[in-house]
Symmetry: C2
Subunit: 131 residues, 2 copies
């Protein structure tokens, strides 16, 4: 499988696939005689695993950790749960922040007539410091 087929199968841009090998996140793939990278199903699964983990917001460093656990037949699921739970806490925090952001901004937008007059509650609201 050449890089574009593999990248399609994994759901990642080819550039990113190369990049992940460059930084050693995944092992460098075998090469054809002419130098083309060639991928098998196992590498594609690993790449897709990383894509999913990235979509879950895990950093590259965390993906490295998770991939290690993914490959380690001896790993305990406690390790994985610890990492995932931390991530879950972060997500919850982000949700709260986003909610108050949304509420504040929505309030400002509501208060704005949106006409051609220079008087604007949004601008005024942004100007008011919360600190």
């Amino acid at each position: 499988m050449n890089i574009s087929a593999a990248s399609k199968a994994a759901g990642l841009p080819a550039k990113t696939v190369r990049y992940y090998a460059d930084i050693g996140l995944v092992p460098a793939p075998a090469r054809s005689e002419s130098g083309y990278r060639s991928y098998d199903d196992a590498s594609v699964r690993k790449l897709a695993f990383v894509r999913r983990a990235r979509e879950f917001g895990f950093s590259i460093a965390e993906c490295r950790e998770l991939l290690g656990l993914y490959e380690d037949r001896q790993r305990s699921s406690a390790d994985v749960k610890r990492i995932a739970t931390r991530r879950l806490d972060e997500i919850a925090l982000k949700q709260k922040e986003l909610q108050s952001l949304h509420d504040e901004l929505a309030h400002l937008v509501d208060a704005c007539r949106g006409d051609d007059r220079p008087d604007c509650p949004i601008i005024d609201g942004l100007g008011k410091s919360t600190r």
Copy 2:
């Protein structure tokens, strides 16, 4: 006012205050004889305005736009409302994504015993492609 007083008043790190002038987001401040930057209340207000806008998730480019409107006595509040509403839509989208992320991950964590056995639903769940 020297930079550290101004940065404290605006709620930004001094490095960031310098940076904002470097990229021309805010005008370069006056200098003392010895070369120290000196700020007045108006500049601090502008910096705080940017901080708030950044906290709302506006990009530097959008802040530039908003600052322009902030300073333009002729601007219509329709312009501002347009930008803020777009941002609000983005926030709502982000919230939805975060929610499904949270649900999926929470489901995996729930299904995980978190013991020392190598069998782990989180790892398995990440491995399963959604595409």
